[in-house]
Symmetry: C2
Subunit: 211 residues, 2 copies
């Protein structure tokens, strides 16, 4: 396998996208794919795809393209597709419920194992096959879970983050408007819906065409 | 104002984040901010902040930092904060409902003006102050709207995208798993929940600390 530490972050961010598309191709019975086809499908330009793939030592052949099965095998190893990461969902509001109904395991190596909410009327419910527990049981229940999706009100985001970290969580997908502080070694990806919308609008006005 | 076309995309993507934080500082009555404080709050390293700000011609003073009001005035102009962009929400499921309850206008220059869904039981409802119309009325109702948030099932994403474009939409925030094709001049930002989660897990394993 290629030396992981040498893959640039920008390339690494595109890996799950490539994997998902190639997996779909494979399910459709396709055995090869050109960088042009890939480019059209995942909306990343061909030159970038070829450069990305070269980091993994995958070189396309002219007039043939890439071997889908080889790439999939490679990505599966790289993305540790065979090792499932257990995820807890914190905050079963509308956004949290959307996550619970999203079928992550289909193409994916992640599984939402449990959910937590402060609303007692939600406790004990099963949504999308996942049981909802009370937030006060967090540290007691959180076993064998490595990552959390945070969809709680911004005002309690830091407090709950601290509890998650005390329980050994190593990664947080933060969907609250709050920026959270975590110790070194804990990974946070932040998706703020308002910032995403504002960013789209800004780019619409100033960069109408992708550079 | 600085020449917009010279601001790198990576810098431009951070603008809404800076704006939001500075606006909060201003509301709290703070008149100046250091790049260190900004860095701690928005989780972007100080060197990057200083470089970003230098593109806008904003230079911090040693021992003083940046003037909040000056920066806000600058960002407001740059982000066209005074000019509201009208947005339509397509697909009032759990994710769509979360958007409707999200108070975008608070710190923001965007407003969800109308929502559409295929489910007749939702038509006529008002959610978060926004009326839900039937999806078949899309082209008829869609007036004076520049952007759309797409939270429909992936299988109908392209068809609805085509209708949105025929109605003059210039930007789409795509939350479906589908990659959509649009003509030149239409901007698409794609946020796939499964890809975001997979990306977090990949980074947890290989890049536990931000580079």
């Amino acid at each position: 396998m290629a030396d992981q530490s040498k893959i640039p972050q920008a390339t690494a961010k595109r890996l799950p996208l490539y994997y998902r598309f190639l997996n779909n191709l494979h399910l459709q019975g396709k055995s090869r794919v050109s960088s042009k086809e890939l480019s059209d499908a995942v909306k990343v330009d061909s030159a970038t795809i070829r450069r990305d793939f070269s980091y993994f030592g995958a070189l396309g052949k002219k007039g043939y393209g890439y071997n889908v099965e080889y790439l999939l095998g490679f990505f599966r190893k790289t993305l540790d597709q065979d090792e499932t990461t257990n995820v807890a969902l914190i905050g079963v509001g509308n956004l949290g419920t959307a996550f619970l109904h999203y079928n992550f395991t289909k193409n994916n190596n992640t599984k939402i194992e449990m959910a937590f909410d402060a609303d007692k009327s939600k406790v004990g419910q099963e949504i999308g096959g996942v049981t909802v527990y009370h937030i006060s049981d967090l540290s007691e229940r959180l076993k064998n879970v490595q990552a959390a999706i945070l969809t709680v009100p911004g005002a309690v985001a830091q407090q709950i983050t601290d509890e998650l970290i005390d329980s050994g969580i190593k990664g947080i997908l933060n969907f609250t408007p709050a920026r959270i502080t975590v110790p070194e070694g804990v990974r946070v990806h932040h998706i703020d819906l308002a910032v995403e919308l504002q960013s789209l609008v800004y780019f619409m006005k100033h960069y109408p065409v992708d550079e």
